[in-house]
Subunit: 343 residues, 2 copies
Amino acid sequence: MIPQFASTANPALAAQLDSAIDNKTKPLGSLGMLEQLAKQIGLIQNTVAPAIDRPAILVFAADHGIVAEGVSAYPQDVTWQMVENFLAGGAAINVFAAQAGCHLQVIDAGVNHEFGQRSALIDRKLANGTANFAKAPAMSPDLCAAALEAGMALAAAVPGNVVGFGEMGIGNTTAAAALMHKLSGIPVALCVGAGTGLSADGVAHKQRVIEDAVALHAGVDAPLAVLATFGGLEIAMMAGAMLQGAAMRKVLLIDGFIVTSALLVASRLQPAILDYCVFAHCSAESGHQRLLEALGVQPLLQLDLRLGEGTGSALALPLLLAAVNFLAHMATFDSARVSEKKG
Amino acid sequence: MIPQFASTANPALAAQLDSAIDNKTKPLGSLGMLEQLAKQIGLIQNTVAPAIDRPAILVFAADHGIVAEGVSAYPQDVTWQMVENFLAGGAAINVFAAQAGCHLQVIDAGVNHEFGQRSALIDRKLANGTANFAKAPAMSPDLCAAALEAGMALAAAVPGNVVGFGEMGIGNTTAAAALMHKLSGIPVALCVGAGTGLSADGVAHKQRVIEDAVALHAGVDAPLAVLATFGGLEIAMMAGAMLQGAAMRKVLLIDGFIVTSALLVASRLQPAILDYCVFAHCSAESGHQRLLEALGVQPLLQLDLRLGEGTGSALALPLLLAAVNFLAHMATFDSARVSEKKG
């Protein structure tokens, strides 16, 4: 069921990419992270001439039973209201995706609301949200598997070679923090944050809710079981889409805390997936920086964003374009007849 | 001679901008630095509806007599060769400016080379480079004043409301480090770096060259005298353009170490200029981070770039667009009928 794929490692191609990058008219290494990015995208696409083709951002929305425990600063209705906002073009992700020339797909992965027939909404609703994991597993194993499969099919249908991820789901930082704790071993206190704007008391309460739930579900440790027990429908669908995207050698553009928690699950199933991931930004949500460190990865942007929706993915896209563009279009020392370094 | 202008501070407008930003459909403050940027650009443009109009990047090129002391890893000819590369469209700044839809102007501020009549090159050559400041002042007071004036005229002629800065000049990190030391008091050892790729011995030599020159020119302390003694024609021209740009309420997009050294000079003449500056990135050139800290400012990007040319300015431009675009195009809680925060 889980797609199989290998690392992108390819020493011969890596050497060709290094040489192409180093021969561009600039001091060695002077484009910093863009050079690593160009090389990474070349390795993913298995070419010395990587390109960005029809990038898409997939925004997965779902509701979370855990909100019954009072873990969010906003009411659950905001999930469907924000989906309506996405469909109307009024959210931050609409603005940033349009600016980046990036196609936007909005997926109902399990919102607790009846949208009716809406042409711009991709209906993959598998349930009206998850169960409250403070009382019972968020999803049954079958429901979780169905969400993974739905995500795989969505990624398989993306026409381009870059898939950016985004999400909307009131309560989903609580699910993400629980996943992070269970799959990384980092203490819950270091995984929880203010989400959409909890007070310090609210954060402390959220921590207790997660710690109690972890105790309730003691013994649940396998990645898929952890995902079903503590995750969300949008998180499972993203994990599936990431695995399928990597299997198709697409660049995976990872947004903030919740998207990274989905990637954490995927990486526990297929560690090679990290080769395919570009980390868009480090969120201001407490826990995201630690999660990125635990994954051993470096994000492109640090703008103190904590909005989700894939906004970081959209904002990072021009940097991916810059990476492939300098490799494609800059002159070499030879072609431009520029003198090389002395001595 | 130096343009006069006030701070952008305007409490009534600032409150209107805060309110407009806070009413957008997102958790309070969740767009982080983009929110501060939207507010800053609104204050610069004196409007609640800021916009980016015809952004331009001005790349100033000049040579430096100090290269005779062996302070650069590349030969001086690379300055004119890279100008030719700019004119042919083969440099990183060409690629990134084109991607950002940003007009590029290349200015010969004093390159030690005869380009002849070239339609794409703006000829403001005031000398074939500066004198070697290890032996004599880099520029006479008159030459330095002429460079400032030329920069002012160039900025005055820019049609749009964003001026990005970039530079090319073999040896100019040495000039920039000397300016930084003289105008900030930070020890030379913390101002010098590898530039285009010096060895540790090379950096140590560069430090000694600057320290000896500082001793030679002891007593030179006024900002304009420091600029004339240790600066460069491209640095002086940039400082002039920045001052004029601020006087015309344009957004100044500040690139890396050398551009920031020009801004440091300008800020010593007109401290209010900082209100008009957006700092594109923190360079990997040792000294830039300390210089940004000394100015008390925060850059948008940290990509380990150390190329100059205005590449950071071009890469940061989409973030300026994102800032004004979210303010212009996102729905409000009211208009989108999204519930606000609880309690």
